[in-house]
């Protein structure tokens, strides 16, 4: 009994220290991630204040994705599709206490070079909706990748809010691309019901892991919008 109580106290003590350490790491995290971005930038801005209650929507945009020294350009030219996974989260600021997560929205953009045509295919996935566009020049592709995304997730309840955006850029193998397309096209439920395929699932995981170990580029950017107040 005494042993159990002592164990419980030890747990609480270590858990407290772990939480403090974790919080400290979390605080320093954003700066590190931003610094990692190098030439690619993620911007989360607010639309103009056009609603009576002051609510504003986020406008998400990435910049310099295909700058002349971009490693993503190298990846594309090497035949590797590049996936951009965007996520926008709505956070309610609560002063000194933890902020509250309200909701989020996600979408994907996959870019692939078609070497025979020397064209770039840009697939945008939003839920089950897909859009395919092709660009013959890097200039046009770069401009298309710099489109802004206005996400209709305006909060309606009164309070002080901000948006947290993240962009994860990864390279995909061909099988990943097929899997991603099937998943985003809505095949996931069938795959789940039929059971995970041992070879496929673990082969895919191993492939991704090896791709990462092999040094193929992977980048994660985060950014926050300014605070705004909903009256």
């Amino acid at each position: 009994m005494a042993l159990q109580q002592a164990g419980l106290l030890r747990i609480l003590w270590w858990a407290g220290r772990a939480l403090v350490l974790t919080s400290a790491l979390a605080v320093t995290r954003v700066d590190r991630v931003a610094a990692q971005g190098g030439d690619v930038r993620l911007l989360v801005r607010l639309t103009t204040d056009s609603t009576p209650n002051g609510s504003r929507a986020p406008l998400v945009r990435s910049e310099n994705m295909l700058a002349s020294n971009s490693r993503w350009l190298d990846a594309l030219r090497s035949g590797l599709p590049v996936r951009l996974h965007y996520r926008v989260e709505v956070w309610r600021s609560r002063g000194a206490w933890f902020d509250t997560f309200e909701r989020q929205a996600e979408w994907d953009v996959v870019v692939r070079h078609e070497p025979l045509l020397d064209q770039y295919t840009l697939l945008t996935f939003v839920g089950a909706a897909r859009q395919e566009r092709r660009y013959a020049t890097l200039d046009a592709l770069g401009a298309a990748l710099a489109f802004g995304y206005q996400v209709n997730v305006r909060p309606v309840e009164s309070g002080r809010y901000y948006y947290a955006g993240s962009l994860q850029v990864t390279t995909l193998s061909d099988s990943d691309l097929d899997e991603l397309e099937r998943f985003l096209a809505g095949d996931l439920s069938e795959a789940e019901e039929q059971g995970e395929n041992f070879g496929d699932a673990l082969g895919r995981g191993a492939t991704r892991f090896l791709l990462r170990l092999a040094g193929l580029p992977s980048l994660r950017l985060e950014a926050r919008s300014p605070h705004f107040t909903v009256r």
């Binding site: 747990i11 395919e132 013959a136 020049t137 997730v153 395929n197 070879g199 673990l202």
Partner: protein, 576 residues
């Protein structure tokens, strides 16, 4: 990702020249499975081809510059490359899959058409005529005769099949596939599934499917099971404001007894690489049917009935990469017989991602009423259970609950919690194939595999079967993303660019703690009364820390309530 993304809709705003400068994403729009293929309008492409191929047009290819002070008369067309104009063009210009630059002082007395590129114009440019620009690539090819031709579109990426072949016959889509069965184990080796899938959509919102799969087991012969199995399934779904459906299965397959301490995939890798199979199995052959309703996208309620023959299977000796000369752990005997199972299952899932959720709930609960008239029970000590009635009238009830909560305290700090409970609630005691245990990499990683099996003192069985009536476990973890840079960065010849990094750049730092208890219900020594849960001080506790790089994770876990040494656990997916 599944949840909100399903409701998203892509709306493209086209302010100028058919281009998209802002894309509006509306999460509250009605779900749509539309596929929009962008591109210049066909009539514009036809006009471009006609202009380019016109015999009066001067055709160029590659990068061309018309310097300041020069003058060009007539129709000018360029295919692939960049056309830089600083002089005067007295005529129309068309650019196919290239960029048109109008530099200061440039003058164009005619129409401009750019398809598949951009028009970049400076100040002080004089232009008399229309101007049309389409960024999307023009689907054209330049032939050996120097003329442009329309290029037939290749198959879209989504139609490229890899491991299966699909063809359409009338309104029925048929898919022939060959796949593995989801795991590698000491009973079947690598089960291989093959067969056709027929899909039929008679009308919008209705989906029918017949899936016929044969199973070949690669582990070799066994006197207790066949080398072949099968699963035949038929489903009919109706999607609308409320989705509902019915289905039926006919099967002869090998099933795991517990779904922990590792997932099927991880257990398969462990068996294949290390000859360590963390699951036990039995064979079942029978028929089942189900009906379900999904009143909201997050909630699914299912009623199922099944009648099958369940029987023991023996471990064989499939090959493994390491320790191949070792002996596999025996597979336990089960209570053979025919079982009739009525199941009621509810699932509430608001997670934002099925593989790596960061927010949302997953609540999964299942109630089973199990009966049998010919159960042939394995002899177990009476403290584990009284001998079930063998002449008919065997009936037992079981309930399971899995509650997971994923939450983010700040954008960088996540806290996840899980409660897992399972076990007997009424009637005769559970058959062996539905009994429980704790300990091992998943629920209680600080403890040995099957550290808690409820086997009484003196009871020895090399298969180390799970014998508990009930179990409960909680898991709590705190995660934050770390920049690791665990590896080596190759120097790059270009000083302005970082070199290639070999290793892991980022990972989740995970602090976790688990608590749980598996027990026999009853009034005997060491048992917990039927009508209550164990008090907290009777639970076993562990805690640990780990790094989760997504595709692979390593954890150190230490039991707190006992003196077991620190354990290193490697996982290929999230803990929960």
């Amino acid at each position: 990702m599944r949840l909100l993304a399903v409701g998203l809709m892509l709306i493209l705003v086209r302010p100028l020249w058919g281009q998209d400068s802002v894309i509006v994403i509306d999460p509250d729009a009605r779900p749509s499975d539309s596929f929009v293929r962008g591109g210049p309008p066909p009539e514009v492409v036809a006009e471009l081809i006609s202009f380019y191929n016109d015999s009066s047009t001067t055709r160029m290819q590659g990068d061309v510059t018309l310097p300041a002070g020069t003058r060009f008369e007539g129709k000018l067309a360029l295919y692939r490359g960049s056309l830089r104009v600083a002089g005067r063009v007295a005529g129309s210009i068309a650019v196919a899959n290239g960029t048109l630059y109008l530099h200061p002082g440039a003058a164009v007395d005619g129409d401009i058409l750019v398809v598949g590129g951009r028009l970049l114009r400076s100040e002080q440019v004089e232009h008399r005529g229309t101007e049309r620009v389409y960024w999307d690539a023009a689907p054209v090819l330049r032939g050996s005769d120097g003329l442009l031709a329309l290029r037939e579109r290749r198959r879209p990426l989504g139609e490229i099949a890899t491991a299966r072949t699909t063809f359409q016959a009338g309104r029925v889509r048929t898919t022939l596939s060959l796949a593995t069965g989801g795991t590698y184990n000491r009973i079947e080796g690598l089960p291989i599934l093959f067969g056709p899938l027929f899909e039929f959509r008679p009308m919008a919102g209705t989906y029918a499917r017949i899936d016929l799969r044969g199973i070949v087991r690669t582990a070799g012969e066994s006197d207790l099971r066949s080398d072949f199995g099968y699963v035949a399934r038929a489903d009919l779904r109706f999607a609308g404001r409320t989705e509902f459906g019915i289905g039926g299965r006919l099967y002869s397959e090998v099933e795991p007894i517990e779904d922990q301490p590792l997932t099927a995939g991880e257990s398969g890798w462990s068996a294949f690489l290390l000859q360590r199979d963390y699951r036990d199995y039995y064979e079942r052959e029978g028929v089942s049917g189900l009906a379900y309703v999904r009143p909201t996208s997050a909630l699914r309620v299912e009623l199922s009935l099944s009648r099958d023959a369940e029987r023991s299977v023996r471990a064989t000796d499939p090959w493994s990469l390491l320790r191949n000369s070792d002996r596999w752990r025996r597979n336990p005997l089960i209570d053979d017989g025919h079982f009739f199972v009525t199941g009621l299952q509810a699932e509430f899932d608001t997670r934002n991602d099925t593989e790596r959720p960061t927010t949302g709930w997953l609540i999964r609960s299942r109630f089973e009423h199990i009966t049998s008239d010919d159960i042939a029970p394995v002899a177990l000590p009476l403290v584990v259970r009284p001998t079930p009635p063998t002449g008919g009238g065997y009936a037992t009830d079981r309930i399971s609950l899995d509650v997971r909560r994923y939450s983010r305290l700040t954008p960088a700090l996540r806290v996840n919690g899980r409660l897992r409970a399972d076990g007997w609630i009424a009637g005769d005691r559970l058959p062996i194939q539905r009994r429980l245990s704790l300990g091992g990499p998943d629920l209680m990683p600080g403890f040995d595999f099957r550290a808690f099996t409820c086997a009484p003192r003196g009871f020895t069985d090399p298969s180390n079967p799970a014998l508990c009536d009930r179990m409960i476990a909680t898991q709590l973890e705190v995660r934050t993303r770390l920049s690791l840079n665990l590896g080596y960065r190759w120097p790059n010849r270009d000083a302005n660019r970082p070199g290639r990094f070999i290793g892991i750049e980022e990972a989740d730092l995970v602090f976790f703690s688990d608590a749980g208890k598996a027990w026999l219900a009853g009034s005997g020594a060491g048992q917990v009364p039927v009508n209550r849960l164990p008090v907290l001080r009777e639970w076993s506790l562990d805690m640990g820390v780990g790094l989760d790089a997504g595709e692979i994770a390593a954890y150190l876990a230490k039991s707190v309530s006992s003196g077991e040494p620190v354990k290193l656990i490697v996982r290929l997916q999230r803990r929960f």
